[in-house]
């Protein structure tokens, strides 16, 4: 049974998290977009901000009254907080005798509560866990960041026009992966915990249980949030169809529009490709091994001594889509798409993954 937190007491939730030792990250207006950044007080939250998203478009405006979470998705969710865009993995020091010493450079993130994580991004983090935390070769950098995060989810009541999480099954309501989840109502919040530490924070607030009317209001909101979504993928498992149709003419048509810029992979909350390189100091004594996000839309991604496997743009888009919606099933038992719609919004030419996938897979699972 969820608890009810009146709107004018939202600060109490923040204080309770701080009392548990967490730094707070919440949605903040940064460079014209909502991004997770340090927050301290309720006044830091984007009150009344709503967004208009469309293929190749993202605009914010203020007409959502008192609501703090009337928007859906900024350009980044949890990904940069878990899988750093650029980080040093280790440093190698060479002494005068030519001996090498390797020192790992593990992050030591402070315990951090992220407030306002969407269901799609919780699902995406679960997907990235499958890759980075798989034993026996779990990634210690990702693991350290993951262990430091306390996640406060928020159910989406106002999906963007580009959202299609209902069709992938990942939203708009938070159903896993959070410590506390919120449903924002007109006058307050319904809070529910799903982890021991989440329950502990809720208990410290000593709130009253939500009444029937409040629960009905939340349920109605979530029902409407599903109905509002105009986009949908034609099926949840397009693996067989996509690989049967690798020669479909639509691949050429989309390649003619695609700029191969990699924006889609940068904003995708599940894309995990990264490259490694060396930052050597000028003296030659120390060299840092650095990794940073990479994209299958670059030429270097498929390079092997003199051969580029995916020299053509068509092959790069096909690699991305056939992996995301197709071979991802072979690797992780589900699609790699959580329906957040970011790749649609942030594509400079407005390519829509649902439109492309559905055109290629037309006639299947419809």
């Amino acid at each position: 049974m969820p608890d009810y937190l009146p709107r004018d007491q939202f600060q109490r939730l923040l204080d309770a998290l701080v009392a548990e030792g967490y730094q707070l990250l919440g949605p903040q207006l940064r460079e014209g977009a909502l991004q997770f950044a340090p927050v301290h007080a309720v006044d830091d939250f984007p009150k009344g901000v709503r967004e208009a998203q469309a293929p190749g478009q993202y605009r914010l405006h203020h007409d959502a009254g008192e609501r703090l979470f009337a928007w859906a998705t900024g350009p980044q969710g949890l990904k940069p907080l878990l899988f750093a865009p650029r980080e040093v993995l280790w440093r190698a020091e060479k002494d005068e005798a030519g001996h090498l010493q390797f020192r790992e450079s593990l992050p030591e993130p402070p315990p951090t509560a992220v407030i306002g994580v969407r269901a799609c991004d919780l699902a995406a983090a679960t997907i990235q866990d499958q890759l980075f935390l798989a034993r026996p070769k779990a990634d210690p950098y990702y693991r350290a960041r993951r262990a430091a995060l306390f996640l406060v989810g928020v159910d989406c009541a106002q999906p963007a026009d580009t959202c299609f999480c209902a069709s992938t099954g990942d939203g708009p309501t938070c159903d896993h992966g959070y410590d506390i989840a919120m449903s924002e109502l007109a006058d307050g919040f319904l809070l529910r915990g799903s982890s021991e530490r989440g329950e502990k924070v809720l208990q410290s607030l000593a709130l009253a249980a939500a009444d029937d009317g409040q629960r009905a209001e939340a349920e109605g909101q979530q029902r409407r949030a599903v109905e509002m979504q105009q986009r949908a993928l034609v099926g949840r498992n397009l693996r067989e169809t996509l690989f049967e149709r690798l020669q479909h003419p639509r691949w050429d048509a989309v390649a003619a529009r695609c700029l191969s810029c990699g924006n889609c992979t940068a904003v995708c909350p599940t894309c995990f490709c990264h490259k490694e390189g060396d930052d050597a100091d000028l003296g030659g004594g120390e060299s840092a091994r650095v990794r940073e996000w990479d994209s299958c839309f670059t030429e270097g991604h498929s390079y092997i001594h003199g051969i580029v496997v995916r020299g053509e743009r068509k092959f790069r888009y096909r690699q991305w889509l056939s992996h995301k919606l197709g071979s991802w099933h072979d690797q992780f038992g589900r699609s790699g798409c959580v329906g957040c719609g970011r790749c649609i919004t942030w594509c400079p030419v407005g390519i829509d993954i649902t439109e492309e996938a559905n055109a290629i897979c037309a006639g299947e699972n419809a």
């Binding site: 001996h99 890759l131 690989f243 496997v309």
Partner: protein, 277 residues
Amino acid sequence: MSNPYLPLEAEVVERIEETPTIFTLRLRFTDPQAHEAYSFDPGQFNMLYLHGVGEVPISIVSDPQDEHMYAHTIRAVGRVTRGLAKVKVGDRIGVRGPYGRGWPLAEAEGRDVIVATGGLGCAPVVSVINYVMKRRERFRRMSILQGVKHAADLIWQERYREWAAKPNTQVLLAADQGGQQWPFQQGNITVLFEKAEFDPQNTIAMLCGPEGMMRAVIGLLLSKGMPECAIWLSMERNMQCGLGHCGHCQVGGNFVCKDGPVFCYAEVKELLGVPGF
């Protein structure tokens, strides 16, 4: 828990110049405990790190039971391998591994074995050949088929002669452009299969080389009645982590670095030869 990204220091114990661009490094971990704990299967690879330059995946050519050192045969083709070409005995590099799945040697015991390679000496299978030669009685007939473009590309001629002298072993070599001094077959590797002696129902084939060459050999072996899962091939893709994290080596759902680099044909046939994968 140990950090799988972190290399260990290794010392170059011996450097062998195979050709002007191909060299072999024999290595030992400088930490004796790490060296003792290290073991690998033929067909697996290590990530070799040259200080300040970078890391490259290189297959291991030595015998898995050689406790003294392990070896890599490297062709200087890129920034890191050209740098590695310059390291000398006593120099230190970084090594992490081994990674990936190796050749199906246990499965090949008691059967005929075909090792077919194209291009240069094809280091990933030299370890297999040596492995079989050292344990000759565990395997039936052995056919070593090697195709090269130019006669001059063939390295390890002496080793091929030694192998050919072993019992129950055929060595068949072909060059597209052999020239007058070339004592072996002229033409593509597939012409060699006319002479190869093996029982298609009781053979394990291991292939390494350019994908076009491997596809031609696979077609031929299938036409002789070999089952798809008796044909194994070593794939090559961009690899940066070796752990299945960085994403570069994916071919469809396979991560070449951890699911391979050695695959049976049935596992990769869906996309083998499809441009862009």
